[in-house]
Symmetry: C2
């Protein structure tokens, strides 16, 4: 029987997971998805994700594919996944795709959001959901500075040293910083992002805000390709994969 | 040395607690507050709360008093509490009050909110934070029905049988149901609420929505003083003590 290539759209709270990708130590989202899929289809399935989110990173939208010979219709599959998966993972959409569709290689655009709680006190309802930054953020300044990330560049300066990717050229389509009350949201949209790139871009903007990095230097830092000139890597738990487009 | 009566305003995520009141089994908010206060003041303190929230119930605003001989000024006390307390409890305000002030007896008005996630699928970010009710809620109908709770009545029909309170007369000042996207919020405001009263009022409205209880019967149910005529007790994890006024 032919294989189907089923596209599943997920939403997950990454707090309890060691990221997306299956690994020997710690429970991952991919592992939960694979185990649920095997239980539902009784088939040796393969689950492929659109991104390798780190431990603690969340997803408002994450796309993965399920290769399986199952005949179960999509609407029933969706219900079965939502019944079996832990409450921290939801399947929001399920549909058949062309067998050649690949959730990572075919992705045209990804949007990440980084959430910062910038209130006077810690917020018990945002533990693990937003980074608590207690110094007042000047969102107007950071929004202006963020524009310098827009464009096509070699973003080596904004890539974790551990990365083994060869071509570090990426296109950033949009970058902005907005305040919604005590929450400051950093939004980055691009054709793809390097390892830790969004967290380093966020950390660099925060360092500009605090004065540790001078204003109007982002273009210079990009062109230097020198990781040591960019800012800190903001913690994982403020990061959300927000949208993937094909 | 004289005792001080220090008023602490809290915000807490009740998911991990067995409610407010200290008890032999399970960690409570009162116990965390007492232990933190003893550590900070090095004094045999007494913590008194404005309400006895149940296990799993949250507070956007909760008021308690700390009786202590400490000389530490309020702003430093607040910082010390926020440093020592678990991330799930925040102290948002700290000030001295008259020694006679009592957070429960002097309370004039309490507002509770009950949060329902009424989307098509479960929401991973609202686990333990809102009750997932999968049948579509007609918020306009329930908002009309909720008005019948307003007034001064013996609310025995809306009180958990375990309650030992003698006088079950309470005044409800406001009751409304509003939709904010996929979230439906039930708001109840009154001079006080009986044990489980807000959760039973919410459950009764949901039962009216589903047809298990006929429309326009809330006044009859109140007057019957018969708990068996009211609806189910909605789960604790959707409930928030939202505001207390003096």
């Amino acid at each position: 029987m032919d294989y189907r290539n089923i596209v599943l759209t997920l939403k997950y709270d990454g707090s309890a997971f060691h990221g997306w990708q299956t690994q020997p130590n710690g429970i991952t989202v991919q592992q939960c998805m694979t185990e649920a899929a095997r239980q539902i289809t009784n088939d040796e399935v393969r689950i492929t994700g659109c991104s390798r989110t780190d431990a603690g990173v969340h997803a408002n939208m994450f796309v993965c594919t399920l290769k399986s010979q199952t005949r179960i219709p999509c609407d029933r599959l969706k219900g079965a996944f939502n019944a079996i998966l832990p409450d921290s993972i939801a399947v929001t959409d399920c549909r058949d795709a062309d067998i050649a569709f690949h959730p990572r290689y075919d992705c045209k655009k990804k949007t990440y959001k980084y959430m910062i709680w910038n209130g006077n006190e810690k917020n018990p309802f945002l533990v693990n959901r937003a980074y608590y930054y207690k110094y007042e953020i000047d969102e107007k300044l950071l929004n202006e500075q963020a524009r310098d990330f827009i464009g096509t560049y070699d973003f080596s300066a904004f890539c974790a040293c551990a990365s083994t990717v060869d071509d570090k050229t990426r296109t950033v389509y949009g970058a902005c910083v907005e305040r919604q009350g005590d929450i400051v949201v950093f939004t980055f949209c691009g054709n793809g992002f390097l390892y830790n790139m969004v967290r380093i871009m966020t950390g660099t903007l925060l360092d500009i805000g605090s004065g540790r990095i001078p204003v109007n230097t982002i273009k210079d830092i990009i062109l230097s390709k020198d990781r040591s000139r960019a800012g800190v890597t903001a913690p994982a738990h403020g990061l959300y994969l927000d949208r993937v487009e094909y």
